[in-house]
Structures are given as C-alpha cells and as structure tokens.
C-alpha cells in the first residue's frame, strides 16, 4: 500500500522513529488512513482550481459582470483564490499525513492531528488490549480493503480507534500475534 513518500501502511519500518519510543521498542506497523480517503477533497480541489476559468468563460458568454474591474485587482483576486486553494490542500494533506497509528512490540500509539492548532497523542500498552474489532464499510472500503479497527482496552483511555486503515484484518491479527508473543 505504498504511495512513494506517503505510504498508508509500512510493515516493520526501519527509518521511522517517534517521540517517547523506548530503547528496546520496535515499530511493527506504521499506519495512516488509506490514500483513497483523500479522494473527496482532491475532487473538490480540482473543481476549485477550475472555478475561475469556468467563471471567466461563462462571463464571456453571458456578460454577467458589466463593469470594468482594474486588471491588477483581477490578477490579485486570482492569486488570492489559488492561495486559498493551497491552504485547503495543505490543511487536508497535513490532517491525513499526521494522523498516525503505530503498533510497536510493546505499545499502540495513536497520534491525532485535528487541525493546525490542536493535536494529541495516546499510548496504550499491548497487555491492556482486551479486544479488537475490524470493520470494512462501503464500496470503496471493500474495493481497496480498508476500514476501521476499534480496540477496547483496560487502560485509562478505554478505546482506540484506527480509522480507515488499510487491511484492518491484517492489523488485528498482527496485534494479536504481538500480544501472544509478549505473554510467552
């Protein structure tokens, strides 16, 4: 499930580290939402990019704006529009890129990036995991094999939710295997 620099699932990554990682702690799975979940905002972005051109074409035919707007103001408005589009892209991309789920040989880590001003990170020990339930929903979920994995824990935070991760069944099995290995 690789997308060059931006994969959604990495099995045993060697070049990734996270804050609070212990010396003997090894990352087993590195996950984020499946890249397909980005399609909705990508389609909106394409529409937003095309909008000024569409409006200009419609205006040429229907003459909606009769007044003459100074050319430097028109150019500035175009530039400003595309700056807003870039802001929209950045906000959505960063939201996807930094919402990360990590499974290590000792912990489950859930790093949330809500928006540009708020974020949090939660760690749960593997021995606190009580049950996990994968759920694949919708046409895209079935086609691309991604879905949610809800993990019940005995820790302070009672539930960890891995949203729209690739191969949720595989992730669940991996967590169970790690738990069994740790118990032995």
């Amino acid at each position: 499930m690789s997308l060059g620099f931006f994969p959604s699932l990495i099995d045993c990554p060697t070049k990734i580290k996270f804050a609070d990682q212990e010396k003997d702690e090894v990352i087993e799975l590195f996950l984020r939402r499946h890249w397909v979940t980005n399609l909705s905002w990508l389609v909106l972005t394409i529409l937003a990019i095309a909008l000024p051109f569409i409006f200009t074409k419609i205006n040429e035919v229907l003459k909606l704006v009769q007044i003459t707007v100074p050319s430097q103001l028109v150019i500035s408005a175009w530039v400003l529009w595309y700056m807003l589009v870039v802001a929209y892209i950045l906000e959505n991309f960063l939201h996807w890129y930094f919402n990360i789920y990590i499974v290590t040989n000792t912990h489950l880590v859930d790093i949330n990036f809500y928006n540009l001003l708020s974020r949090d990170a939660t760690e749960v020990r593997l021995e606190d995991v009580q049950s996990s339930k994968p759920q694949v929903q919708g046409v895209l979920g079935s086609l691309f094999n991604y879905g949610d994995l809800t993990i019940e824990t005995a820790a302070e935070r009672q539930q960890i939710h891995f949203a729209d991760v690739p191969k949720p069944d595989f992730v669940r099995e991996r967590i169970q295997d790690l738990q069994e290995t740790k118990e032995r």
């Binding site: 931006f6 430097q72 103001l73 807003l84 540009l116």
Partner: protein, 82 residues
C-alpha cells in the same frame, strides 16, 4: 461629452469600492502569511513527534511556502498601492 461625463460619474463611486477591495485582498494575503507561519510551526512539531524520511522535505517545503506567501504580500503592496 455628455456620454464621457456619465461614464466618469459612474466610475467615481466604483473607485472607492476598488480601494476597499485592494485593502481586503492585502489583509487576506497577510492572513495567509500568518497561516504559513503556523504551518511551519506545526510541521516542525509533528516531525519531532514522528520522524520519517519525508520530514526534511516537508520542513523545507513549509519554509519555501512561507517565503512565497511573504513574497505575494509584498507583490500585492507594490501592484495594488504602488
């Protein structure tokens, strides 16, 4: 001459509208620059929490992005009020 006079009188109230529009565009561009600074800060913090191969590229991109945003603010000042 009458037509010219009518056009000029119609243009004058619009001049005020253009000045206000220029100010708004400049304010929004300045806000965008502030947003780009927040992006730098946030990418820096997040890449400290999770260190991946793409982290240096993302940090570099955020700085270049803020530089471009500042450049656009200066460009707007020059083109709209120069």
């Amino acid at each position: 001459m009458i037509v010219e006079g009518q056009v000029l009188s119609a243009m004058n109230p619009l001049q005020g509208v253009w000045v206000v529009a220029n100010f708004w565009i400049l304010i929004l561009a300045a806000l965008y620059f502030v947003f780009s600074l927040i992006v730098i800060r946030q990418i820096h913090l997040m890449t400290e929490i999770v260190m991946t191969e793409a982290a240096p590229i993302m940090r570099a991109f955020s700085i270049i992005h803020a530089g471009l945003a500042l450049g656009i603010v200066i460009l707007f000042i020059g083109s709209l009020f120069g």
